[in-house]
């Protein structure tokens, strides 16, 4: 299986762990990752405004590239995934946006939005299968109690992301079980980590992150895993020393014996 692998900027700088382990695990699981040529930043928060086309053109280019090669786009970073997924949805469903996007860019093949944007976790569930992963695990994380931290961007807006039930998600818990560990359900797993508020109001961001980690710890988690570089940053910097926080790919690599 070949995917157009879009790492995004943070995975080249602050979140190298997320990227390196994702590649190693893909290799171990027989999934081929091909980076699109000359990719740029997805636009991060700017495209979320939705009404300014220029901020979304970088995402449009990635999607057009994958569409012209008839492959799905694979993402790891929650923010990149949210931007690309919403962009693909709007290209498909909003003719005005689609026409403008094509008018701005001179593509050989016009972009239609008929391209799947798949998150690495969805790939593990739907392409590889958690049962297969279970079989390929060489160092099962038996007895380890892990809290899944979803944050905001993977799940919402629910209709556009189509990632999992946005109110009662289960995919990361299933992932944790596949690694042989025990998932811990805690009430703040879908709540915001504080996001970019940390730049303006650090005490508020600290409160948000601490609430998440303290709740996970109280319910018995020994560590927390996430797919989002910003969540990891906030939980580590603002969450105190409550619990260790890892990228989900790091634990996958450990279990598959490729760390």
């Amino acid at each position: 299986m070949i995917f157009s692998y879009y790492p995004g900027c943070t995975l080249r700088t602050r979140a190298k762990d997320l990227d390196v382990y994702a590649r190693k695990c893909a290799l171990a699981l027989g999934v081929e990752l091909v980076e699109p040529k000359d990719w740029q930043c997805c636009g991060v928060v700017y495209p979320l405004a939705g009404d300014e086309i220029a901020h979304r053109l970088s995402a449009v280019r990635v999607l057009q590239d994958a569409q012209s090669r008839s492959v799905s786009v694979l993402t790891v970073c929650s923010a990149c995934h949210n931007v690309l997924k919403q962009c693909a949805y709007d290209l498909k469903n909003d003719a005005d946006f689609r026409n403008k996007a094509n008018a701005y860019s001179e593509f050989d093949i016009p972009v239609t939005g008929e391209v799947d944007v798949v998150h690495y976790l969805e790939m593990l569930r739907d392409t590889v299968g958690f049962d297969t992963i279970k079989q390929k695990v060489v160092n099962p994380l038996t007895g380890k109690k892990i809290g899944a931290y979803y944050g905001c961007l993977l799940l919402r807006p629910g209709k556009k992301m189509g990632f999992d039930d946005p109110e009662n998600p289960a995919i990361i818990e299933e992932f944790i079980k596949a690694l042989g560990a025990e998932p811990v359900i805690y009430p703040y797993r879908n709540e915001c980590c504080g996001g970019y508020v940390t730049l303006e109001n650090k005490p508020l961001a600290q409160k948000k992150s601490q609430t998440v980690l303290e709740s996970a710890k109280e319910m018995g988690a020994e560590c927390v895993i996430t797919a989002c570089p910003l969540c990891l940053y906030n939980l580590k910097k603002n969450g105190g020393d409550t619990l260790p926080v890892y990228y989900f790919t790091e634990l996958l690599a450990e279990a598959l014996g490729v760390k």
Binding site: E167, N168, P187
Partner: protein, 663 residues
């Protein structure tokens, strides 16, 4: 050419405000065939109707055009008025210059021009109108009530007391509905079962009422006065004529872990069950999805213990077809799924419950025998938080935009009863607004606040987080104090939004009755015909039409019954004469019309037709049953050869209208 009179209505300023009615009357007076044209302030008033009648006689009018409101509003009024003056009522046309003109235009010149065009189209049509005479169809003197909750039961009892036969179809194993699950009723706090169960018994014992419990409506054919309904009587695997309701089977059945629906899944029932002690009919039912005997062929305990020999594992669903003159929909409601709201933690803690679950926890026949105990550990809760508007008045994709109407009152009831029975318990109620209009309702709510010391806090709960020690951390806003609250609660009760029962949508399709975007049945007129569906002969009772409490439901049930009685006392109904007819010479026998007809009014027959050489040749042609045809016109637009035509709305008439508009 007809002698036509034109009557332009001002409707106060409703029309005259945006349409120059004098000019309209003057312009239309110049149209071919128009011999009289005038305007008047209120054409529907008695004086206005007299004006029309006098003009018909004085000018010997053969056709009348009334430029006024929508024909849905007053077409009948004007037809009757003209009929009194000796004119065939189908020689009257209404040009809608209010809803389709004055109300949507702001510019007088534009509005006037459009009103003239609409009037001209109606004049063109009247020229081609022909007098029509309505036929008659008989009325089957029996009513069907779909749903056996308090709404359906009250409707059935009222109809039956008037002397007509009524059948109740209830999809559950017993009638009673939601009211049977409720502990006490506001604002008088009388016991729900004590006032409901006698009514259930009345229904069962009434000689005019027949109950089809554990049954569903399969399909509906026919029309007002002559519905033909197929009812699926689901297999109970118990012979109704033999079962005595002794309940031995429900104690001996080895499958013990089936969540008990009547107690909202808070305790278990057996695979063979009687929903509750006062069930009507009190007959055991085997749940085929969990019964060992039906699934694997091994067991048969219930059959062995049944003294009456009522168990019959070979029983099959039975389809019963019956005729009815009228149908009442009383399908009721359910609470929306609270797991859709992650912030309330309903899926994460057993101690976050819905209000209906709370009713069962305080009911003497409930899983705890009426003692309020936490579902998780069976201990008394000392701090209880009630959250109102969980999904009501919500614009999120999981919520409902409307107010569920009953929650403010039942939450006040829950809070008050809790404080009375357990004075050591702290009770909080979070609300957006407290809405208690109704007789003795606001007094009731104030009693909860002032006499019972319930903490009412204006603001919503943002998060319910279960803790490791089992307490529930509630984070909420107090909007009046402008601060955030943190409460450690033992029990959280969610007043979830109510929505129409899931079966309602499928039923609406079968009945061709319309629904709104929330799946509530639409009434024929929101103010003036609130218990009738726009589909003739279909009536609405209870929450299927919109949220309401028990007193309102009972009132509406009675109103629906009186409408049904008004229909059933008639021996014959006047048919709509605007029915389809087929021109046999043009019909090519394609069956297109037969396929699109929603009423099954069209059949094909083979007839002999003369050829050019005078020989006779058989040909298949369509034929319309005028008693069944409802005049929808689907066949006329389907017919490729133009053989199908609708009386009163012929192809020629419609084309004449279009021509007049485009002139």
């Amino acid at each position: 050419m007809q002698r036509i009179g034109v009557f332009v209505c001002h409707c106060g300023t409703n029309i005259a405000g945006t349409v120059d009615v004098k000019t309209v009357a003057e312009m239309l007076g110049k149209e071919p065939g128009v011999v009289f044209s005038t305007d008047y302030q209120y054409m529907c008033s008695e004086a206005g109707q007299t004006l029309i009648q006098d003009a018909i006689k004085e000018h010997n009018l053969g056709g009348v055009v009334i430029c006024s409101c929508s024909p849905r509003m007053h077409e009948q009024t004007f037809r009757k008025a003209c009929a009194k003056a000796g004119l065939n009522p189908y020689m009257v046309e209404v040009a809608n210059i209010r809803e389709q003109c004055s109300w949507i235009h702001k510019d007088v010149a534009e509005g006037t021009e459009k009103a003239v065009i609409l009037g001209r189209a109606a004049i063109a049509k009247v020229h081609l109108n022909a007098p029509l005479t309505a036929g008659e169809s008989p009325v089957v003197k029996r009513a069907l009530v779909i749903g056996g909750g308090i709404a359906g039961m009250q409707t059935a009892l009222d109809i039956a007391d008037a002397g007509f036969e009524v059948d109740i179809v209830e999809k559950n194993a017993t009638i009673g509905g939601k009211m049977a699950q409720i502990d006490k009723t506001f604002p008088t706090l009388d016991c729900s079962a004590c006032i409901l169960t006698p009514k259930m018994v009345d229904c069962a014992q009434h000689e005019k009422i027949n109950i089809y419990a554990y049954s569903e409506v399969e399909d509906v054919k026919g029309f007002v006065g002559n519905f033909s309904v197929a009812i699926r009587k689901k297999a109970r695997y118990v012979d109704e004529t033999k079962c005595t309701g002794c309940g031995i089977c429900t104690e001996k059945c080895p499958v013990k872990n089936i969540p008990n629906e009547f107690n909202m899944g808070m305790d278990n029932r057996r695979s063979i069950y009687i929903p509750f002690a006062q069930a009507v009919p009190k007959i055991a039912t085997i749940d085929p999805n969990t019964c060992n005997k039906l699934k694997t062929g091994k067991c048969g305990v219930c059959s062995k213990v049944c003294g009456a020999g009522a168990i019959d594992y070979t029983q099959k669903d039975e389809i019963i077809r019956r005729e009815y003159g009228a149908i009442v929909v009383a399908t009721g409601f359910n609470m929306i799924d609270m797991t859709k709201f992650d912030e309330f933690g309903y899926a994460q803690s057993k101690d976050v419950i819905t209000s209906l679950e709370f009713e069962r926890l305080t009911n003497a026949a409930g899983p705890t025998g009426g003692t309020l105990l936490r579902p998780s550990d069976g201990k008394h809760p000392h701090t209880i938080v009630f959250v109102q508007c969980c999904g009501s008045r919500s614009t999120t994709e999981n919520g409902k935009p409307y107010c569920s109407k009953i929650c403010c009152m039942y939450t006040a009831k829950h809070a008050m009863l809790t404080r009375e029975k357990y004075p050591d318990t702290d009770v909080y109620v979070f609300y957006i607004d407290v809405r208690t209009p109704g007789k003795n309702f606001d007094e009731f709510y104030r009693r909860a606040v002032e006499q019972y010391g319930v903490h009412y806090v204006k603001g919503m709960v943002g998060k319910v987080a279960p803790r490791a020690d089992g307490t529930l951390h509630v984070q909420a806003s107090d909007l009046l104090a402008g601060e955030q609250l943190h409460i450690d609660a033992d029990l959280v009760v969610l007043a979830g939004a109510i929505e129409p029962d899931k079966s309602a949508r499928g039923l609406a399709t079968k009945l061709t009755a319309s629904m709104d975007t929330n799946d509530f049945f639409t009434e024929a007129h929101p103010k003036l015909r609130p218990v009738e569906s726009p589909t003739a002969g279909v009536f609405l009772s209870g929450v299927c039409q919109g949220p309401k409490d028990i007193p309102e439901t009972v009132a509406q049930a009675g109103a629906a019954a009186s409408k049904v009685i008004g229909l059933l006392v008639k021996d014959k109904l006047t048919c709509n004469p605007c029915v389809a007819q087929s021109d046999e010479l043009l019909c090519n026998g394609c069956s297109g019309c037969e396929h699109v007809c929603p009423y099954g009014a069209i059949t094909y027959e083979t007839k002999e037709f003369m050829q050019f050489d005078r020989s006779m040749k058989p040909r298949r042609v369509a034929s319309v049953n005028p008693a069944v045809c409802q005049g929808c016109g689907a066949c006329t637009v389907t017919c490729p050869s133009g053989a199908m035509d609708l009386k009163g709305f012929s192809n020629r008439q419609i084309m004449a209208e279009v021509d007049a508009i485009c002139k």
